[in-house]
Amino acid sequence: MNTRKLSDGQFAWLLMIPGLALFLAIIAYPLASALVTGFFEQSLVRPGRAFAGLSNFADVLGGDFWPVLRNTLVFTIGATLIPFVIGYALALALNSGIRGSGFLRGLFLFPWVIPGVVVSFLWLWIFNANYGVLNGVLMELGFIETTVSWLGQPVTAMIAVIVTKTWASFPWMMVMLLAGLQTMPKELHEAASVDGAGAVRRFRSVTLPHMKGIAGIVLLLEFIWNFQHFDTIYVLTGGGPAGATKTFAVAVYDTAFKGFDLGHATALGGLWMLLLLVLVAFYLRRETKERS
């Protein structure tokens, strides 16, 4: 093809055709059809469907939605804030000029680098009620007297999935926040020091304002990811016990692939996506601001 006659804009669109085609076929079209399916009575395994109006949404809002939203929020907030605090503390520590910080940074990446499903297996084994090392250590130290079924009780199961996800994501927080800290001009701290500011004051008045941008992005991204997280919860608890860790991802998956109820699954998924869209809109606005 002779591309010389095309304008720059036309040429650019030409380059994007394969990507856009793939994008439309496997992301845009399925998501759009998911939103439509929410208005139908449809099974995953039988062909054909019947228009159901808003009944799927009414069913979902009158049933699963609220407990699932609560579980999702508890998980998301816990699995975002805890690794943030840990990652921030570690980033500050590694930035304070201690020896071997480069090596330590690499070492701390391990939990994050390990495949998600392996992370789940590992913690499933650690939390194991009969032979788990957590029970073993806590008993040796005298904190508990009998073994605890961590994944078998609603509250501890939620804590367990949050701890697992925290373990897997604090290194990413650390890397991002450390990158932010390293762009902070040293002179700022020295100047504040000369003016008589102590460590706490310098942290509050110099470090925190400088880190606001990156901290906001990191929190928002992690929140978005956790809001749709699936792997760890599915392998560790499968949403149980008694639905205590059933988040949107698990609920939509189960409704579709265990209940074969496509209509209800996509109605729930549609509501979930609306909530996510709000978050994503926040993210895009911040991204645009950062870049300009």
Partner: protein, 296 residues
């Protein structure tokens, strides 16, 4: 006059030092406490994975467990090597991840180049759409992808897996590679144009070779993401096309008693290529992460 100035300067510098010393000792101490505590949380599970993989069965299933190995065995790794089913999953993982990575990089390179080097209507909105698309709920996408693949007869094939993995590798690669092309000076391309090279030739013979390290990095990221995926691979394939993550679940979980040491040995092996990839990727890490969501 000069003398006084110098003197105040010295004094203030000394004051700074005096103030900083106890301060520094305290902050160093705090730093080490944080490193050690978080280090225990971060490293003990990794240690436990490796330790269990080398522990004989009878010891692994004793309670309370012994934290330090008294006996080391390679049996669990030997078991893996003899497990033909697992070998099949491994082959599937390699095929699917490599094809996903190559496909994603090739397609997204053109798209990223268009985003980076040209200005045209709709560019910004499209870039945002690509960025946002990787944050749509995967579990919801999965449900309709299943219906789409089922209707088109692709369900259970490698193609279904590769295409579904592309939903998260493509946006990632586009954003990473846009960042890479942004660093290739436009003057080089203008020079080529003056020499009479077509835009396509400029792209292929100047921009792509210059971006080669970035292309490799983006490919490795895509490979890792595909290698790690669990939920698409769990749902969209036949058992004989399944990759390692769901394959391990099928092999080890849901039975009466899980063979934990075998599973930990398998987990160890599955993690190795990913860890190796990240060792190469260290310097791209932060850029790649900010460019898009590496982990969901």
């Amino acid at each position: 006059m000069t003398a006084t100035l110098t003197r105040t300067a010295t004094v203030s510098r000394r004051q700074v030092k005096a103030r900083r010393r106890p301060d520094q000792v305290r902050s160093r101490l705090a730093a080490w406490i944080a490193v050690v505590l978080i280090g225990l949380f971060g490293m003990l599970p990794v240690y436990w994975l490796v330790a269990t993989a080398f522990t004989p069965d009878d010891r692994a299933f004793s309670f309370p467990p012994s934290l330090f190995p008294t006996e080391i065995t390679f049996d669990h790794f030997a078991n893996l090597a003899e497990n033909e089913q697992l070998f099949g999953y491994l082959v599937n993982s390699v095929i699917v991840s490599v094809v996903t990575a190559v496909l994603s990089v090739v397609i997204s390179a053109y798209m990223a180049y268009a985003f980076s080097k040209f200005r045209y209507r709709g560019r910004k909105s499209l870039m945002h759409l690509v960025l946002a698309s990787q944050m749509f709920p995967q579990a919801l996408l999965l449900v309709t992808l299943y219906a789409v693949f089922s209707a088109s007869g692709l369900l259970g094939s490698y193609t279904a897996l590769i295409l579904s993995f592309t939903t998260f590798t493509l946006p990632l690669c586009v954003w990473m590679l846009k960042g890479i092309f942004d660093t290739v000076p436009s003057s080089l391309m203008e020079a080529a144009a003056i020499d009479g090279a077509s835009r396509l030739r400029t792209l292929h013979q100047i921009a792509l070779p210059l971006a080669a390290p970035g292309l490799v990095a983006a490919g490795l990221f895509a490979f890792v993401r595909a290698w790690n995926d669990f939920v698409f691979a769990l749902t969209l394939t036949d058992p004989d096309r399944q990759t390692l993550p769901p394959g391990l679940v099928h092999t080890y979980l849901g039975e009466f008693q899980t063979a934990w040491p075998d599973l930990m040995a398998a987990s160890f092996v599955v993690s190795l290529p990913v860890i190796a990839a990240f060792m190469f990727l260290q310097r791209y890490l932060v850029g790649g992460l900010t460019a898009g969501a590496v982990k969901g």
